[in-house]
């Protein structure tokens, strides 16, 4: 049995949050799943979370109002090292814009770009990196 993980989903679409949560729970690997429709809320959550030894996987959408996915990652990367450790960020988008995909590669803390929708197959690939 692989280790349990914490999951954070950031997507302005309620529906996509729901899908992600379901898919994640179906894997049986989740210790917790927290979904946020506002990137700013997710950031506050990460900042105030008590330290834990459980690694966290973050799925973040790119195009969102107020704070978009890139801004979220930039704000995340500005956090102190002791908060950032243990997080793996995956950017998730319906974007087929090559600039977006290229931009994702520029962020150190982003593991990978994933196409929407998050499916059973896609999440299995992600989880295999964390087994």
């Amino acid at each position: 049995m692989s280790a349990l993980l914490n999951f954070i989903v950031v997507d302005d679409s309620k529906l996509d949050c729901f899908i992600a949560e379901k898919i994640i729970k179906n894997t049986g690997r989740s210790e917790s799943v927290n979904t946020f429709q506002q990137a700013t809320d997710a950031l506050v959550y990460i900042k105030t979370l008590a330290p834990t030894t459980t690694p966290s996987i973050v799925f973040v959408d790119i195009q969102m109002p107020v704070m978009n996915g890139f801004e979220f990652v930039e704000a995340f990367e500005a956090l102190p090292e002791n908060i950032r450790q243990g997080y793996s960020i995956y950017m998730l988008s319906s974007s087929i814009n090559e600039n977006d995909i290229a931009k994702v590669k520029g962020y150190q803390s982003v593991k990978q770009f994933l196409n929407k929708p998050l499916t059973n197959n896609a999440i299995t690939v992600v989880l295999n990196q964390h087994s």
Binding site: D12, L15, D16, I23, P65, S94, N120
Partner: protein, 355 residues
């Protein structure tokens, strides 16, 4: 136009000859010329003598090229060898070359042509700006279209994938509701897109507008929303004079403002309201849409009319609505003002002149 010559007599006779036909500025040295150019940005033609004590006409033209790229330059000179002609053209970007002593006719035809050239260049610059803007919008549009149109489709595909492993009928039903929502969002986006193109491409059709009828047509939809969401909706229409405008554009404006007013209400608040007033007075229609909803954060208020800008994700929106409103108002020569306080409500005031 501006004429520079170190000989006062030339300046005086030049001004005397042309002051009835053109707005003539004169300067007897280059420093004065620069200060005149700075004060009069709409000077379109500059004539300069070549031989002046502090510098040559070509040097002067070369020097001011950076700061004043637009005026068309004409060089006047007493003697012309091929070298000086070449340098005038290459270094001074001279449009015409006039030999002294000049004839009035020469000057006149040169100035007229120079002015024509200036106007053409200016128009071209404006057109280029417009084209650039259109390109930028197209880029933004293509980018956002992939997101806003693919988004709901991908959501539905995600749910379908999920539902394949779901046995519980109740859960499947709630998934169907979600799919319905996603499709409604897509449909809403496509309708907005249609609005966008009917404003953009469609010709404005000016006709007599009877606001009570128009308001009724638009408001009927919102009466239902009002009852369903328990938001008090009042509309007051006062029209005692004729008004001419474009029916389609007016409906787009009203629809978007009302739909926003109903959409961005504060959840769980008592006494929610939306007020529409339309008053036609002295050849102008003033439309106000007032609500006591969530309001607009102060730092977003300047951006709300931008294409695809969204100030909140409290509700489903395309970022298209207010952009379309502004676009439609542009066609009707109308204007829009917004007063809003975050957490207290928003009032949009639209003023449209009768055509």
């Amino acid at each position: 136009m501006l004429y520079i010559d170190d000989e006062q007599n030339n300046l005086v006779s030049f001004k005397a000859s042309f002051r009835f036909d053109y707005n003539v500025f004169i300067a007897n040295n280059t420093e004065e010329a620069v200060s005149i150019l700075r004060q009069n940005p709409d000077i379109s033609v500059i004539l300069s003598d070549q031989k002046m004590p502090d510098k040559t006409g070509v040097e002067f033209f070369e020097e001011i090229r950076q700061e004043f790229p637009n005026p068309v330059r004409i060089l006047i000179t007493g003697y012309a060898d091929i070298e000086s002609v070449i340098s005038a053209i290459n270094r001074g970007h001279v449009f015409r070359y006039i030999k002294k002593p000049w004839s009035e006719e020469d000057i006149r035809s040169s100035i007229d042509q120079a002015h024509k050239f200036y106007i053409t260049t200016a128009l071209l610059a404006i057109k280029n700006d417009e084209l650039q803007k259109a390109y930028n919008e197209l880029d933004k549009f293509a980018y956002s279209a992939t997101h806003d149109m693919r988004g709901p489709i991908l959501s539905v595909l995600g749910i379908i994938d999920l539902s394949k492993n779901t046995e519980d009928v109740g859960e499947i039903k709630s998934m169907l509701d979600m799919m319905e929502n996603a499709m409604m969002k897509l449909d809403n986006y496509i309708q907005n897109l249609h609005d966008y193109y009917s404003i953009r491409r469609g010709e404005v059709e000016i006709e007599d507008i009877h606001f009570p009828d128009l308001a009724k047509e638009v408001c009927d939809i919102y009466e239902v929303t009002s009852k369903m969401n328990n938001v008090r909706f009042t509309n007051t229409v006062t029209q005692t004079e004729g008004f001419r405008s474009d029916d389609v554009s007016l409906k787009i404006i009203l629809n978007n403002l009302l739909s926003n007013a109903f959409k961005y209400q504060q959840k769980g608040k008592d006494e929610c309201f939306v007020e529409l007033t339309i008053e036609v007075l002295k050849g102008a229609a003033v439309i106000t849409v007032k609500d006591n909803g969530i309001g607009i954060p102060e730092n977003s208020i300047n951006q709300i009319f931008n294409m695809f800008y969204r100030a909140t994700n409290e509700e489903v929106g395309s970022g298209f609505g207010l952009y379309n409103v502004k676009d439609a108002l542009g066609k009707l020569s109308g204007k829009i003002e917004v007063a809003s306080k975050h957490g207290e409500g928003t009032t949009f005031t639209v003023t449209i002149p009768s055509k």
